[in-house]
Amino acid sequence: MVTELFSSGHTACVGCGQALGARLVVETTGPNVIIANATGCLEVFTSRYPESAWGVPWIHSLFQNAAAVASGVEAALRIKGKLDQVRVISQGGDGATADIGMASLSGMFDRGHDILYVCYDNEAYMNTGVQRSGLTPFDSRTTTSPAGKKSFGNPRPKKNIPEIANAHNVPYVATASVAFPKDLQKKVKKALSIRGPKYLQIFVPCPLGWRHDPGLTYEIAKLVVETGLYPILEYQDGKLISLKTIEAAKPVDEYLKLQGRYAHLFTERGKGEIAKIQAIADSNIKKYSLLKESKEVQKKMMEEKPSEEKIFTTAELSKCDGKDGRPAYFAYKGKVYDITGSDRWADGTHYNMHFAGSDLTEALVEAPHGDEVFERFKIIGVLKM
């Protein structure tokens, strides 16, 4: 990891999700990129003259034209024959991307430029003081969609920019959250391995704008995914190639209650609104088959054909949870591993993050190790799809 491409000393707020996201992106791209940044928090807190946090070539022009400026950079590199060695990133916040910059983003997609566009979605115009944007979620309180006697906050749902990107037939579209940094980095790498316009939308909590404890940035970025409110998806040429499934969807209250921007919903009047937000989460879960049990999803993810070994159903596997003397098994890419007695799986849990008796295929993406660590475990069957 190269930390010198986004150096410390920038003036982002304490616990800023966008600073985290931007650092993860540029540390993955490496030094051979040129970044065109829209006006916004990221631009302001990284480039206060004479200090810059950027260790890569970087240009800021205006608010709505990051994608167009990047198009020009890309055209220049192309005519100079340098597009193989130097890649182009265009980035901005949700306002710059979904509202004022929508046309220039669409143009960039339409022309097929070899650019990765990254949208840091903190769900409002944060730099100017937390005003409502096209990606502000339903019932979120902002200064221009405030809660009051006659209002529960923003009355509109988020624009679906990933779907808009897909409608432009771009080769790669994905969403990510800073709570899953390895998944995010994997997606940046994947995007850069593809030529053409790419879109990556990253959920980045904003402690100031959302009124949450700065130490909860990671937790909130995790909960938004675990409730189903922010599906983590990956498309290639318009086809869904991966998504982050949820074991059991957490109720949206757990996510909402941590943030002051939703505090007005935790009243007698607001209860009905929470139900509406739950409905949005439920609708996402259904639309994208986010729950782990979904058979279609499992089929898509599975890479190997079932063998002649013992076949476990999900229900049977879940009984092997390593508790009360029961064996501890887990499934990975369709195979069932026996981890009974492993000291890292005491009581059937692995560092309080993972549980025996479940399918850990997706969890491995975020692990600090690869699947080589499974070599020491015995495969005792396959998981029935």
Partner: protein, 91 residues
């Protein structure tokens, strides 16, 4: 006469944001650490570094004290502690 509206790279390091901390900082116990590097990944300042197990630590010149490293550590090897005055750790 050209006055470029440009900045040199990485010059933000002159700004010691450790001065932003107000009363608490992350303490790296360095006992249970498994070198998972989640703390390194999740720091918005990018100021945590380390190599082998139990070598991870914040650069307190820049650490703003957000506490996300504490939240993410899977073995609870980082804790927020009271900090009387950041000057001691910065100078």
């Amino acid at each position: 006469m050209i006055i470029p509206v440009t900045s040199k790279p990485r010059t933000s390091k002159a700004n010691k944001t450790g001065t932003w901390r107000s009363g608490k900082k992350p303490h790296f116990i360095q006992k249970e650490c498994i070198a998972c590097r989640l703390c390194v990944m999740v720091c918005p300042e990018g100021c945590i570094s380390g190599d082998k197990k139990c070598t991870y630590i914040s650069d307190y010149k820049y650490c703003k004290g957000c506490g996300n490293c504490v939240a993410v550590c899977p073995v609870a090897d980082i804790e927020m502690v009271k900090e009387e005055w950041w000057r001691e750790t910065i100078s």
